[in-house]
């Protein structure tokens, strides 16, 4: 039951005039999954959500759920709840909390007034706002408004939730609290959820699976761990966490290891982690390595003798304290770029500005991409 597909999207495309916003989306979503859709501004996230909701017709492609093909159904018959990105959490401003909460059953006319009252009480209890039933939206705080919007969605009895940046307008700290709250609420009710965001940390924190889209295409679809540790493209490698993108030159392929040169140094990576050109003729020597800031190990004692595999001496140019983490900026001579390293802040006292350190890349944590070096600048500037 849990593994039966709930939503199947096949070959979905969308054009606005000449502009192709979605270029062939194929997805298979399980019942009760919490899917986070992630991508930069203009990637097509909202368009995808609106097409699923039935608010925009797709140019081609089909959408079906466990109840059958829904591609041509108007939104009110799709049995889903949609929270768009609006200034006020899409609450109806002149209706009080109660009328917002019971809007859907009232409109649908399938329930008696008695039943509607029961639903209203239930959903407001779920979000702990029954005592505010008579308040107008503008009298509530941001977090409360978001909870009312959720209650209203739950009252639809829909099995699919579509949330477009539900936390965008909230304070950073409140965002962290509410994202967990939302996830818990909808998974307890076994809803299948799409949650659009552009915040990668939010995505990692709540997603069962993350869907990365860029320029209307699926870049990668997988669990947070897969996406974080084994990003398929340079784009997703850069997008998650703090990632060092290092332009390097291919030197040699030995057994299962690839050797790259950078400045006066060499870096060894596993051939299996990343992409390699298929034909040797156009095996270009421009590669980009992606190394996560939190995967690099540092030692406050620089090596005076020989350096081991993927070990380098450098000096600390900057230290940024972020609470849980410290971002350490290390300059390695002849490296084209500074390396950013994330270490737990408890280790802060071991390091001083401008002092020398030894850094080491774990061979398991280096992903290589056969991409031109300009790609790095393009990504970092956008």
């Amino acid at each position: 039951m849990i593994d039966s597909p709930h939503i199947v999207i096949s070959d979905l495309t969308k054009r606005f005039g000449k502009k192709e916003v979605l270029k062939g989306i194929n997805l298979n979503i399980k019942k009760g999954e919490y899917i986070v859709i992630l991508g930069p501004t203009g990637a097509g996230k909202t368009t995808l959500l609106k097409i699923i909701a039935g608010l925009l017709p797709p140019t081609s492609g089909r959408i079906s759920t466990d109840t059958g093909d829904i591609t041509d159904l108007p939104p009110e018959f799709r049995n889903l709840a949609y929270l768009p990105q609006t200034s006020d959490y899409s609450l109806f401003a002149y209706m009080n909390v109660w009328n917002n909460a019971i809007f859907s059953p009232k409109m649908k006319d399938e329930k008696s007034l008695q039943e509607i009252t029961t639903i209203g009480n239930e959903v407001l209890d779920l979000v702990n706002l029954r005592h505010r039933y008579n308040a107008l939206p503008h009298e509530l705080s941001g977090g409360m408004k978001q909870r009312v919007a959720l209650a209203r969605a739950i009252a639809t009895d829909a099995s699919i939730f579509l949330l477009d940046e539900p936390l965008r307008a909230l304070d950073a700290r409140l965002r962290i609290i509410l994202r967990t709250e939302i996830k818990k609420l909808v998974t307890d009710l076994k809803k299948t959820t799409f949650h659009v965001t552009h915040d990668q940390e939010e995505a990692l924190a709540v997603a069962d699976r993350i869907l990365i889209i860029n320029e209307g295409r699926i870049i990668q679809f997988g669990t947070p761990q897969e996406i974080y540790q084994r990003p398929k493209t340079l784009f997703s490698a850069y997008f998650f966490g703090i990632t060092n993108l290092l332009p390097v030159s291919f030197k040699d392929l030995k057994d299962d290891k690839m050797i790259f040169s950078v400045g006066n140094h060499t870096i060894t990576a596993l051939a299996s982690l990343g992409e390699i050109s298929e034909t040797s003729e156009d095996l270009k020597d421009e590669y980009v390595l992606a190394i996560k800031a939190d995967s690099i190990t540092v030692s406050s004692i620089p090596s005076t003798e020989g350096l081991g595999l993927n070990e380098f001496n450098g000096s600390i140019e900057n230290l940024y304290y972020l609470g849980k983490w410290i971002h350490m900026v290390v300059v390695v001579e002849t490296f084209p770029k500074q390396m950013v390293i994330a270490i737990p802040s408890t280790e802060m006292r071991k390091y001083k500005l401008n002092s020398d350190v030894l850094i080491k890349f774990d061979i398991e944590d280096i992903i290589h991409y056969n991409e031109p070096w300009e790609k790095v600048k393009q990504l970092e500037d956008s």
Binding site: K50, A53, G54, L55, P74, P75, E76, R78, L80, A81, Y82, L83, P84, Q85, T86, S87, S90, F92, A93, Y94, F103, S104, M107, K108, D109, E110, K111, S112, L113, Q114, L136, R152, A153, T156, L162
Partner: protein
């Protein structure tokens, strides 16, 4: 099925929602709205243009060969065009600081002033013309109240003074509407860069203000080219024989109906001459509006250089105060007092003789007819204008953009030209029998249609369509969505549009005269009283009744909106 425990009305509304949400129903309804707009609103409005082109040989023979007709037309157009351009420029100069003060400053009499600015809108122009003439003009036949200025004998200056009262409120209102939308932080940002208040306003806000200036110019030009009733009573009161474009249309049309000869013009030439003049007025109005929009879009301020110390002086201390005093002085002396001066006359002129000599039957009939015409026109426009506005706002394709541009045409066309054109349209068709009251209503519908559409569009732009989307996904049918989500937000805009449409219709003279000189609405009644009967007292009283009806509506609206906003 489960509607057992709901009231009759609830059940009915759900059934209605289900029925009206059918795709076929929607399509049919929208096609009907389109046809109505194009066939019965827009086409009649500019019908006369086609007529003139088709019958050009005849017009060529009768009009262009007659120097008397030509000289009358040229003189009338000279007055119309020069007055409207001059008035528009002066309105902008004084309107800008007033709009600025009303939007950006808090002061004690602000809400009072806000209501005062709208007052002239409630005065039917026929009465307004009389009132302005009493205040400024030398009036040989009328005994004026004591405070009258009694200075002006010539047509041109008094026409200008009169048009301040009809256009200034529109200019200030459209400027404040746009100014409210410009982000104040931009001015603050400019000031943190060291710009004085004046410099910040001049270099940052003003250049972003072009659309407001364009709207204000269009409104002012259209309104001043269009006015008929006011001009007739104004010039009649100071005993001037001058004609403007719109009054000339009325005079000729009247002469044709009454079969009274006009010196120098053969009777057979009257109809083609009127048609020709109306067509020219329409073309001139559309051209002026187009030019105004181009100027507002492309004009740059002549001074790029900043003079910090000079601009500091005008930003600080007494200078802003002096500027405001001048602007508000203009408002009071040139707009508010002349508009309401007829009240003074009424108080002074009240006497038993005046009451007993009045034609009370005609008085009652004319007011009834005015309210009837205005009510029907407004109701029809609300029913058809709101769907049209929704179509324009929510379907953003090329077609809706074209519609958007066309909606304003009936507003821009001078109303007597519009009336004439609508009259031609309906008499030339052979399906419906000739009924003058029906023609008058149709003319008023065309004339006021833009008010409803524009206001509704304004309301719709304040509602993010995402709210409608949410309602749909929550299970509401399109009709339920409209009723529950859209209507509560736009209802005040619709009511505001309806009231504007109603007051405009109540005050309209030119269109009525041009469609059917024999239909005596209240403004026509006022014109006749002043021009022919010289019964000024009854004219003033009729005006006051109309002011009362209109301002009652306006103030109820203001009160209910501010009550709704407080909630």
């Amino acid at each position: 099925m489960l509607q057992k425990d709901r009231g009759q009305l609830d059940r009915l509304s759900i059934r209605l929602a289900n029925l009206t949400s059918k795709r076929e129903f929607n399509t049919t309804w929208y096609i009907f709205v389109f046809l109505f707009f194009f066939v019965l609103v827009l086409f009649p409005t500019i019908y006369v243009l086609g007529k003139v082109i088709l019958e050009f040989p005849a017009i060529n023979d009768s009009v262009l060969s007659n120097t008397e007709i030509q000289s009358q037309i040229i003189s009338a157009l000279f007055y119309s065009i020069s007055v409207s351009i001059f008035v528009t420029i002066v309105d902008l100069i004084f309107g800008l600081p007033i709009a600025w003060t009303l939007v950006r400053k808090e002061f004690r009499f602000k809400s009072l002033l806000n209501s005062f600015i709208e007052l002239p809108l409630a005065v039917p122009t026929a009465g307004l013309g009389f009132s302005v003439a009493l205040f400024w003009g030398v009036t040989p036949n009328v005994e004026t109240p004591i405070f009258a200025v009694q200075l002006i004998k010539n047509a041109l200056p008094i026409l200008i003074l009169f048009h301040f009262t009809t256009t200034f409120p529109y200019v200030v209102r459209s400027l404040t509407a746009i100014l409210e939308e410009i982000d104040v932080t931009l001015e603050v940002a400019a000031r943190t860069c060291g710009a004085s208040k004046f410099t910040a306003a001049r270099t940052v806000t003003l250049p972003m203000f072009r659309s407001g200036v364009a709207t204000a110019m269009v409104l002012s030009l259209a309104k001043s080219l269009s006015d008929t009733g006011g001009v007739v009573t104004l010039l009649a009161t100071i005993q001037s024989a001058t004609q403007t474009g719109t009054t000339l249309i009325g005079t000729w049309k009247h002469a044709f109906e009454d079969k009274t000869p006009v010196p120098g013009i053969p009777y057979d030439s009257l109809v083609p001459s009127t048609a020709f003049l109306a067509a020219i007025m329409i073309i001139i109005a559309l051209t002026l509006v187009f030019i105004a929009k181009m100027i507002a879009r492309n004009a740059r301020l002549p001074f790029r250089k900043v003079f910090p110390s000079f601009e500091w002086t005008v930003s600080e201390g007494k200078a802003p105060q002096a500027r405001q005093i001048v602007a508000f002085g203009f408002l009071i002396i040139f707009v508010i007092v002349p508009s309401l001066f007829l009240v003074a006359y009424l108080i002074q002129g009240a006497s038993l003789a005046a009451f007993s000599s009045a034609n009370w039957v005609l008085f009652g009939q004319s007011i009834f007819m005015t309210v009837l015409v205005a009510s029907i026109a407004t109701i029809v426009n609300v029913v058809l204008g709101v769907p049209m506005a929704i179509l324009i706002a929510r379907k953003s394709d090329r077609f809706s953009r074209i519609l958007d541009a066309m909606v304003d045409i009936p507003y821009v066309v001078p109303s007597s030209a519009l009336g004439l054109s609508v009259g031609f349209f309906w008499t030339d068709q052979s399906i419906l029998p000739v009924n003058e009251l029906f023609f008058v209503i149709m003319a008023h519908i065309s004339m006021t249609f833009p008010f409803i559409v524009r206001n509704t569009l304004g309301g719709l732009s304040e509602l993010d369509s995402a709210y409608e989307d949410v309602a749909r996904t929550l299970g509401a049918r399109p009709m339920q969505t409209f009723k529950e989500i859209t209507l509560p937000v736009i209802k005040f805009s619709i009511i505001a549009g309806a009231i504007m449409s109603f007051t405009r219709s109540v005050g309209e003279t030119g269109a009525t005269l041009a469609v059917s000189p024999s239909s005596i609405t209240a403004p026509v009644f006022i014109v006749n009283l002043i021009k022919n009967d010289q019964n000024y007292f009854l004219a003033a009283l009729t005006t006051l009744i109309l002011i009362f009806i209109s301002s009652l509506l306006i103030f109820t609206l203001r009160a209910s909106i501010s009550r709704a906003k407080r909630r």
